[in-house]
Symmetry: C2
Subunit: 128 residues, 2 copies
Amino acid sequence: MTRKRFENSSCAVARALSEVGDWWSLRIVLQAMYGTRRYVDFQRELGIARNILGDRLERLVTDGVLRKVDVGEHGCRYEYRLTDKGRDLFVVVEALRQWGERWTAGGDQPGPVVRDRVSSRPVAPLRV
Amino acid sequence: MTRKRFENSSCAVARALSEVGDWWSLRIVLQAMYGTRRYVDFQRELGIARNILGDRLERLVTDGVLRKVDVGEHGCRYEYRLTDKGRDLFVVVEALRQWGERWTAGGDQPGPVVRDRVSSRPVAPLRV
DNA sequence: GAAATCTGGTTTCAATATGCAACCAAACTT
DNA sequence: AAGTTTGGTTGCATATTGAAACCAGATTTC
């Protein structure tokens, strides 16, 4: 049976999850925030299967989270760049990072510290 | 092939997603935040298949996001309650809600406003 | 200028996950 | 005593995933 979808739910969380709630999408977005833009680089750095990557990139593009930019002169090089909508997912990713940092058994190494680009101070914990 | 897992990734986001990054877990957590605690209620309100629900609840319990409380006198009634770890996911859920509210085509109705329990003011947008 | 390589995919196949409905057993209600 | 509620489990059909092979155009290397 087809996986259930929630695009039209009245719940904003459900709608958000129906765009980026699957196993790979947020990781692709995170990788994009790290600066990755090319198909092959996503593939290599995430270790995702190529067909799945193609499918996810396509969906993220149709959902307006990424846009596919034709770079290179004769139409054979493309880049997937975050849109404003995609960049806005940073809060979500950062919330996940803080939660993971706090509650999941980290690997041995502490992981990179996310810093403000201007002040270069580590970002403050998110609060509600 | 088995779905890829990231429990031991050095990336906190990947570790977080390996606990709550699947299609249903965050929705179950959200529902729990709304007050749902019983198997049947989760099932009815989410419309999730019962076997999947059982599997997810079990995993969330082993991961320490929920705990299963034996309520009722002769061990036939249970409740699944959020732990501190689970409650801490509120920031993630709220970030998703704000993103969904802003970027996804809502249903017609505006959806509930999340308010501070003490001040009863709507919560401020999350920022980093 | 031919061969190899890089890029961005698509196809095929096996294994796994999901959804649905039916079934089950212990407790509780009527 | 019979039926209902709760919390599942099982079996089956379909979807999704992952791995690897394949492919074609552009670019680089020899």
